[in-house]
Symmetry: C2
Subunit: 729 residues, 2 copies
């Protein structure tokens, strides 16, 4: 006991002697860097004097591998360091995103760059910290030098030691999917809950059981490799004393995606990178750097949502011309297949297909194929009549007969339509009505097959006038043995984004890696799925609080193609599907405002919208690009209320989404322009509305409002409200 105390004191003294301190511009966030007596780098972070990250280690464990250069095989980048140099910097700029929540974004931070030397190995690395008023980012930089050229990362060892048993909103660590229900628990419950559900893997859940799809921490999915004691980022937490803390990463390029393994102390997270087929985590050549490891922190939950820290830590736009990139509202031939009423595949004639060995013209149609010319024309008409820009069509191309879960290499060619999909005529028809078709490239995770066809696939899009593609990565990765979030697959996704940019094509990649703000650098990355989307409402459901957690977690890295707007929430009213959407009808409208994305789908069927055209009017009207955004109310897992000003307009839209408990708001409209009058259309849950039993009880009221007016509004359980504010001329 005495000895332990002595060591602690010695350590503290030593840290102090070596400590480097830096504060955020307003002083709220303070960071300290220090070396231990073993030369281990550590840092700690405070917000208004309260511990956010307690003393935590930094460094990397390297593989002993013959591909690494001299010296790399003997020494990790974990200890034996001395501080060779420190540099500080203040940076302040305001930049204009191609699309976003606000017209401009301020990037204001103080920076500390510590050059560390391992004298014995003759190596130097730099750890760079950027401290913002709402958090910090840190990254490792590896300059080119004689004795540090090639190295292989066995594991990154970046720690985040939390100060208390925080509440956390988390999903299980997994190398291949993020489509988990979000769990809410104390840190101390995480390890047991994952372990308990890992033991249940492969178990049959009762038919129609809510447990499996709705609550299970892990289960068996098309591609799933969960990791014990480990969670994914962005991880949202709340301390017992009311600090909101978010851990994520920014600018993940040529690097594996980071998970966080929680130690047995239930406080300390350590980085856990996604391996490739060799089990290694990164193949590095200097000069290079890690992504930024980010901590967003505030004592106001709304600051979590308005933070631009992750975008700011990404590099500026790399594209010279962005004039072809635009926000997009779309509908699509999709939900009717998800629900099970029609099919992606054209024929049921064959037990399996090899796409180049079938005479598709002679194949027997199954009569359920949705992507046929007549149906698509109906969707085009609907889009044209309702101001939607594009129509997504899934299942248009040959190969859907056996596309999934077979680890099949040559699954699609991305250019050959089914016989009943007249690609030339449909594009002509769409363009004649001022609408574009949206391309769909499901890769079935055969990444190398996709790359072989990529140039021809994009060229086909250019020929017919498609300018956006939804890509998909369902199932296990080919090259076999690799994972969705490894360094090599992350390189693949970015390769596709860059190649698409050459063709002036916008990308919306589903089942790809979760975003880390790369849309700043490559704004043609207009969306990702990378979380449990609306489709799960047809697979057993998502919890009513799901959409009031996602903006705190998944959306930190970039917009999500959540595909909201299911107004006919009870699927059995029009299909054989017994699932239902855990949201009121009005709650679905609110998502267009609360879940920011430049790409918004009106996901329900035209015939369903026809039943609720008064409510659908909000989807017609709502913008998807903004000059300003004001988060009015927020609490993770409870409610989010946000007001946004449409781009190049004086009109505002307000959305509020609530969890299963509903929410009452008193909104002061002090953000409106002084002296202007606004026609205010309020889409609200009815008095007896409830996501489960009475989702379609809603009211639409109009009134005139001005700056300073107060609106008292109630969101039903699983509901919300949506407001359109139009300046009166």
């Amino acid at each position: 006991m005495k000895k332990a105390f002595f060591l602690l004191v010695a350590c503290l003294i030593f840290i102090d002697a070596q400590a480097q301190k830096i504060q955020s511009p307003n002083g709220n966030v303070a960071l300290q860097f220090a070396l231990t007596d073993k030369g281990e780098p550590t840092y700690q972070l405070q917000f208004k004097g309260r511990d956010v990250v307690r003393t935590s280690h930094l460094g990397l464990e390297l593989a002993r591998d013959r591909h690494a250069s001299k010296g790399m095989a003997e020494t990790d980048l974990l200890d034996g360091f001395v501080v060779k140099d420190t540099k500080t910097l203040t940076f302040d700029e305001t930049w204009t995103p191609v699309w976003g929540e606000t017209r401009t974004i301020r990037n204001h931070y103080n920076e500390l760059a510590v050059t560390l030397q391992q004298p014995q190995a003759n190596r130097e690395i730099i750890i760079r910290f950027r401290v913002y008023d709402d958090g910090m980012g840190l990254r490792y930089e590896f300059p080119q030098q004689q004795d540090l050229n090639y190295f292989i990362i066995k594991e990154e060892k970046t720690e985040f030691q939390m100060a208390d048993d925080h509440m956390a909103w988390w999903i299980t660590g997994d190398y291949d999917t993020q489509e988990y229900p979000i769990q809410t628990s104390r840190l101390s419950e995480i390890r047991d809950r994952i372990h308990r559900d890992m033991l249940k893997r492969g178990q049959k859940y009762p038919e129609g059981s809510e447990e499996r799809m709705y609550s299970a921490v892990v289960w068996d999915n098309a591609s799933m490799n969960p990791v014990e004691s480990t969670v994914q980022t962005s991880l949202q937490m709340k301390s017992p004393d009311g600090l909101y803390i978010n851990l994520h990463e920014a600018a993940c390029i040529d690097y594996a995606t980071m998970h966080l393994t929680l130690g047995s102390d239930n406080r300390t997270f350590t980085s856990h990178l996604t391996p490739d087929a060799t089990g290694m985590k990164g193949y590095m050549q200097t000069p290079c750097q890690s992504p930024w490891r980010t901590v967003i922190v505030s004592d106001d939950a709304r600051d979590m949502l308005s933070s631009n820290l992750i975008l700011n830590l990404n590099e500026p736009c790399a594209l010279d011309d962005t004039s072809w990139i635009h926000p997009t509202k779309y509908c699509g031939v999709w939900w009717e297949m998800i629900v099970g009423r029609s099919s992606w595949n054209y024929t049921d004639e064959f037990p399996s297909v090899k796409i180049d060995q079938i005479d598709w013209q002679k194949a027997k149609p199954n009569g359920r194929h949705a992507a046929n010319t007549a149906t698509v024309k109906r969707y085009i008409d609907f889009a044209a009549e309702n101001g939607l820009d594009q129509v997504l069509v899934e299942g248009w191309n040959i190969g859907w007969e056996d596309w999934a879960n077979r680890w099949k290499q040559d699954v699609f060619d991305f250019v050959t339509p089914y016989p009943d999909f007249d690609i030339a005529e449909l594009n002509r028809y769409a363009h004649s009505k001022g609408v574009k078709l949206m391309m769909h490239h499901e890769t079935s995770s055969a990444a190398n097959n996709y790359e072989r066809h990529l140039e021809k696939a994009y060229t086909l899009m250019n020929r017919y006038g498609y300018d956006a593609v939804k890509s998909g990565y369902v199932g296990d990765i080919i090259p076999r043995g690799d994972h969705h979030y490894s360094q090599s697959m992350n390189n693949h996704y970015l390769y596709c984004i860059k190649e698409a940019a050459k063709h002036h094509i916008m990308v919306n990649a589903h089942e790809a890696v979760r975003p880390t703000g790369l849309c700043r650098t490559y704004p043609n990355l207009v969306g990702n799925e990378s979380a449990r989307g609306t489709e799960y409402e047809a697979f057993g459901g998502s919890k009513p609080d799901h959409t009031v957690i996602l903006p705190f977690t998944r959306l930190q890295g970039g917009p999500m193609d959540y595909t909201p707007g299911i107004l006919e929430t009870q699927l059995n009213t029009w299909s054989d599907n017994t699932s239902y959407v855990r949201s009121t009808l009005v709650g679905q409208l609110a998502l267009y405002v609360t879940m920011y994305s430049p790409l918004q789908m009106a996901a329900d069927l035209p015939e369903n919208y026809a039943k609720y055209m008064d409510a659908f009017q909000f989807i017609r009207d709502v913008a998807c690009d903004w000059d300003d955004s004001r988060y009015l109310e927020a609490e993770p897992g409870d409610y989010i209320t946000v007001a946004r000003k449409a781009k190049n307009s004086d009109n505002w839209f307000i959305g509020c989404k609530a969890d299963e408990n509903g929410h009452r708001s008193m909104l002061k409209l002090d953000f409106l322009d002084k002296g202007k009058k606004y026609e205010c259309t309020i889409y609200a849950d009815g008095k007896t509305a409830h996501y489960k039993d009475n989702p379609k009880d809603y009211t639409i009221t109009k009134r005139t409002v001005k700056q300073g007016d107060v609106l008292r509004l109630t969101a039903a359980p699983g509901g919300g409200y949506a407001i359109a504010l139009k300046v009166k001329k």
Copy 2:
């Protein structure tokens, strides 16, 4: 004991009851198929009544994997079979290869196709046997059916039970290289010799030691994954009673390359497929089939060399137009780098390079870069003056500074020349002299990087008029964890060949998979390395018998770009390299005839040829495409003598190559046309010639010969002779 006897009798009776027999057209080769009492398929093979393959099992072990279709997860394809149907067929055709050893090839066999049913699993497979006068091929066929769509091969279990302790010419089984010295031993010695050398892996051999490069069964190379108790094919054997037996495979497409694991009985080989990164051996979708497993057999060693069995088991030419495919004799900027006198890389300025981040114009040249405009022009002049068609240039493109052994992904772009290589001018200059440049694409085994650049790389070749590419796969494969000879990599090589054909480009792939006769189907595959080539003579040497084994083994599957013609065999006479070529000067000339290839390099330097222009005349004159070939003498590891008639000509060339013991021939020229007179130029070893101490003692004599004349000739130790026979007008 009694029980064992009873079972044996029962088994024999059962086999007899179920046996299916088939003979070759002339009756020399007889095959019998039977099921055991457990329903295991077996076969046996005889030649003139002597056992070639004793009763051996057939079948496949399947992986229990969720990607396989219903039923596949429970039952292997090893037993429980009943014979549902048998079909026999006689086939006889003569086809004309685009290039080859003879003008036409006869494909004459009797076929037995056995349809086997596993009643419990409701599955059928077909085992198809084709029996030739010089051997047989068998393959597994998997028809499409309800309960056999997708399956994963854990291991193929095809046995070849030899009848005795044969002499064998073998190299160690390895998933990534065939560049081993060939071992000569009894079967009973193989397992111990591999095991002994596996234990030595990683040991330092004495500097300049012959042991390491010259004799070691395994050692450490750029990419090497040797397998205990396992050898590669083609495997040549000789039985104690004088039967020559060769095991290999034909038409390896969408399947992993087969190795052979020798059982503890030292008689029975079992197929051992190359795994991919998952450890699995094959991802299959019906309808599909395995490659042919081949046994070539004769009591005359010459029949091993003239056999067309492997070509015949491949599919006919798949290309509509082959007019652009042509035999090619070439020299190149290559040997001077191999020997170490000049370099592939342009600069030594950087510890490593990222090719798109270097200003190559400003990089400091190292002064040793061989692929510069002046040097290449000198090679072009040499080619033009000496009737060579093309000039290979290695090291022309950026990236060679750190290309090897780093598992580096973005190593080359295949289109950007170094600043001192004027690609436009050099091609203009070459074409003006009637010569073409030959392209070089070293991939560093980053297969996916190569595929990303393939279209642009081939397009560049078309723009400048290159029509042949030497590709290379040095180092460990990317996608990392995969192997050179896996199903996925075999698919990659064929993908490149097919894409090249679209561009009218001929392919010569080094370090790629060993060939299995695919050049019949894709005759633009004009060559492979896939064995220990001449380069090893600069790395410590190859044994003098190496080139009198290769035609029995490696060349069974297709031609080798062996790069012969090193006339200045002692490298220290013109460089700092202390190695030497284990051949006499004349032995090098003989290789142009004994090592058949439509692609032949004159591999030495122009200035070295200048010293031996009288001997070089043979390299100028010798053809590399043939109307006829007659193997006059042959014994594996001892000597090979062959006479070949040049395509569309009456001229013949004869080559003889001997091992370290030399060889005496008495050649009866009965293959010459009756009534014609031939000018006969004989390039022979001098009386004191020896590959080690006196390699350049040679004589050139001329005489006139006619049909029936006899030539008495002596090949020195490690030597040979070369003869040009030109019809006198």
